[in-house]
């Protein structure tokens, strides 16, 4: 039943990418200012370098088209980024949502299936659409999203929360299994799931036979974007078998860093913490705080 191997050692500290692409849950102006600040790929690489120097070894990033340039850079400088890993999060949902608005549901689907020269992929895509073979379509979409990471280390591949939570709401639990099977078989990676509905998702993943799953969820002492509430989250983390990755730890800046990290590190079952930072000082300080609180025991 359970074909997922649970062997990956998750890195403790992960650098996220919201800050690079105009996502800030607190202020649209700040998000826009950051989007402008990171208009050049080199400015993103500079932050990545600061993170690497501070000992951060994972970039957890969406499959935003600009990440492709970052991938190229890391691929071209293997010595400089020894041991560096990507945790891709797919899909970058806005491009799909915008396409649905513009082209309708089926039109959008057709746009994202592979085009370039691969007649067989085109045919497979066409057939998959015609026979409503969601597994075939999903595999092609995953492969398209993974292209930019070719040759790089991607030990964990995440499904973005918009898609995870939509499938969860629709009751399409089998899709999680399809995703898990494909990333395991084709990429030797472990599946991860990003969600705002962690306890509910864990129930469904268990039902689908995905045991001890990697789940990335908002975890902060304010209960921001934690459906079910702080208490249910704390109990779920303490008592159930899964590998939690905490995001939105600072609740977009609403909680002071020390207090925020103390809360997350206080829950020993939380394996990883993903954070977004734009300056060297912030990266160093966040990493230092996590290390300090982690080793306090």
């Amino acid at each position: 039943m359970d074909s997922i191997q649970t062997t990956v050692a998750l890195e403790r500290v992960l650098l996220g990418d919201n800050q690079f692409f105009g996502v800030n849950h607190m202020s649209e102006d700040k998000a826009r200012a950051q989007f402008i600040r990171f208009r050049d790929d080199s400015s993103i690489i500079e932050v990545l370098d600061s993170a690497y120097e501070a000992g951060v070894r994972v970039f957890m990033c969406t499959t935003h088209e600009r990440v492709a340039a970052i991938c190229n850079h890391v691929r071209s400088n293997p010595d400089r980024y020894k041991g560096f890993q990507f945790y891709p999060c797919m899909p970058y949902a806005h491009k799909y949502a915008d396409a649905v608005t513009e082209h309708g549901m089926i039109g959008a689907l057709k746009r994202f299936l592979p085009e370039q020269g691969a007649l067989s992929a085109l045919f497979k895509g066409g057939m998959s659409i015609a026979t409503k073979d969601m597994e075939g379509i999903a595999q092609l979409l995953i492969d398209a999203e993974m292209k930019m990471f070719a040759g790089l280390s991607t030990p964990v591949i995440f499904l973005q929360n918009v898609v995870t939570d939509l499938l969860l709401g629709l009751g399409f639990g089998k899709a999680f299994r399809m995703f898990a099977d494909h990333v395991t078989r084709s990429y030797g990676a472990e599946p991860g799931f990003i969600t705002m509905n962690m306890p509910r998702l864990l129930d469904v993943l268990e039902k689908e036979g995905i045991s001890n799953p990697i789940i990335c969820a908002s975890i902060n002492k304010k209960g921001f974007r934690m459906c079910g509430g702080v208490k249910v989250y704390e109990d779920t983390i303490a008592t159930r078998k899964f590998r939690p990755v905490a995001m939105s730890v600072l609740a977009s800046g609403a909680i002071p860093p020390r207090e925020a990290i103390e809360y997350v590190c206080g829950q020993k079952e939380i394996l990883s913490i993903v954070f977004g930072a734009s300056s060297r000082a912030n990266i160093v300080e966040t990493k230092r705080l996590i290390d300090e609180m982690t080793y306090q025991g």
Partner: protein
């Protein structure tokens, strides 16, 4: 338990389906869409049965309410059919392309005591709720001007096959984007009684406007400006903002934060200071039982369900206020028409868009499906 049917499985319909499906007090009795492909795929993977005839769906006797998420052209007919069967109705925005029809339906729902709501979800965003509270408390003094804006990246090139690009279906930047900005305007400061200088420009679309602007005149002398553009790629997604100027201060609000500058804290509200007051969404957002794309989408459905359960027909976004928004849009269309007649010779860009033939690959793919 509220027994509910959903009509329409487009982008909003699918999102509503996920939210309704996970609501603890909702029993989803029926789902309806005319797209056989979407319907049978959904059925194949989730077991949900989808029928194609909405009248049949409404005719089954065990329904309390219906959520209508079809293109706007169908709203009037479907809402009437639902109200005739004494069903509570949640209808997507914009409400009705003909405001007179909308007004009739609002009156009908009210006469029958049925819960009625339109999907203007920004009214359920913490920051806009807080702005409403501040404006109602009168902290700004006499309001004399308001600006409402909506920008985002929907139509970025001259193609596209969705109903949103067709005027007859209720597509276009005015009904899709500007409606949100105008609804927030009516929610926060009231309804203008006439409009001027309305502009509906095409940028990429062939059949609908991609940007729209207008000056709004309120009965008490207050003025407003609307600015909406759905071909602005510098925004990651729809971004809506309202700025309000009063004799005692200025308030600016978007979905993330409220920024209030007060000259004098006249009301003695202890949470407010003279000068700048900033409140962020993280402080203003109430938790929801299930999250998809934003708390407001779940919150509006929860509010609708709650109003049915407590037999309270007055919702936060009722038909009657959506009709007010529809009326502003109708006034703008009329005003823009009149303006265009005066300036036709100065508008050559209207005819520049050239229809592109589909590429060979696209035509091949079309043959495959």
């Amino acid at each position: 338990m509220v027994r509910l049917a959903l009509i329409g499985l487009g982008k909003m319909g699918i999102s509503h389906l996920a939210i309704l499906n996970s609501h603890p007090d909702v029993k989803l009795v029926a789902v309806c869409d005319t797209n056989a492909y979407v319907s049978s795929t959904l059925n194949k993977y989730t077991g949900i049965t989808v029928s194609s005839d909405y009248r049949q769906v409404l005719a089954q006797g065990d329904l309390d309410a219906v959520v209508i998420a079809t293109p706007p052209r169908f709203h009037g007919e479907m809402v009437r059919a639902a109200l005739d069967r004494n069903l509570h109705v949640f209808c997507e925005k914009p409400f009705c392309l003909d405001p007179n029809e909308g007004a009739e339906l609002a009156a009908l729902a009210q006469a029958r005591g049925l819960v009625n709501q339109v999907g203007y979800h920004y009214r359920f965003v913490g920051a806009f709720k807080e702005a409403k509270r501040l404006v109602t408390a009168g902290v700004l003094g006499r309001i004399h001007h308001v600006r409402t804006e909506a920008y985002g990246p929907v139509i970025l090139r001259p193609k596209g096959a969705s109903w949103r690009g067709q005027k007859s279906e209720g597509g276009g930047c005015l009904h899709d984007y500007a409606s949100h900005a105008l609804d927030l305007l009516t929610y926060l400061v009231g309804t203008p009684d006439h409009v001027g200088g309305s502009v509906l420009n095409r940028i990429f679309s062939q059949d609908v406007e991609d940007e729209t602007y207008a000056t709004l005149y309120f009965p008490d002398g207050m003025t407003g400006q609307l600015s909406a553009n759905w071909s602005d790629e510098s925004y990651r997604k729809l971004s809506t903002k309202v700025s309000i100027w009063g004799t005692n201060g200025v308030l600016s609000v978007d979905r993330q934060e409220v920024r209030l500058f007060l000259r004098d804290n006249l009301n003695g509200d202890r949470t407010l200071n003279d000068g700048w007051n900033i409140v962020y969404t993280t402080e203003l957002t109430d938790p929801v039982w299930y999250y998809l794309r934003g708390e407001e989408y779940s919150a509006q459905i929860d509010h609708f369900v709650g109003c049915i359960e407590t037999k309270q027909p007055e919702t936060i976004s009722p038909f009657v206020s959506a009709v007010a928004t529809d009326r502003i849009m109708a006034m703008m269309l009329e005003d823009a028409d009149a303006g265009m007649k005066l300036t036709t010779r100065r508008r050559p860009q209207q005819d520049r868009t050239i229809a592109r033939r589909p590429g060979i690959l696209r035509r091949m793919k079309a043959l495959l499906v």
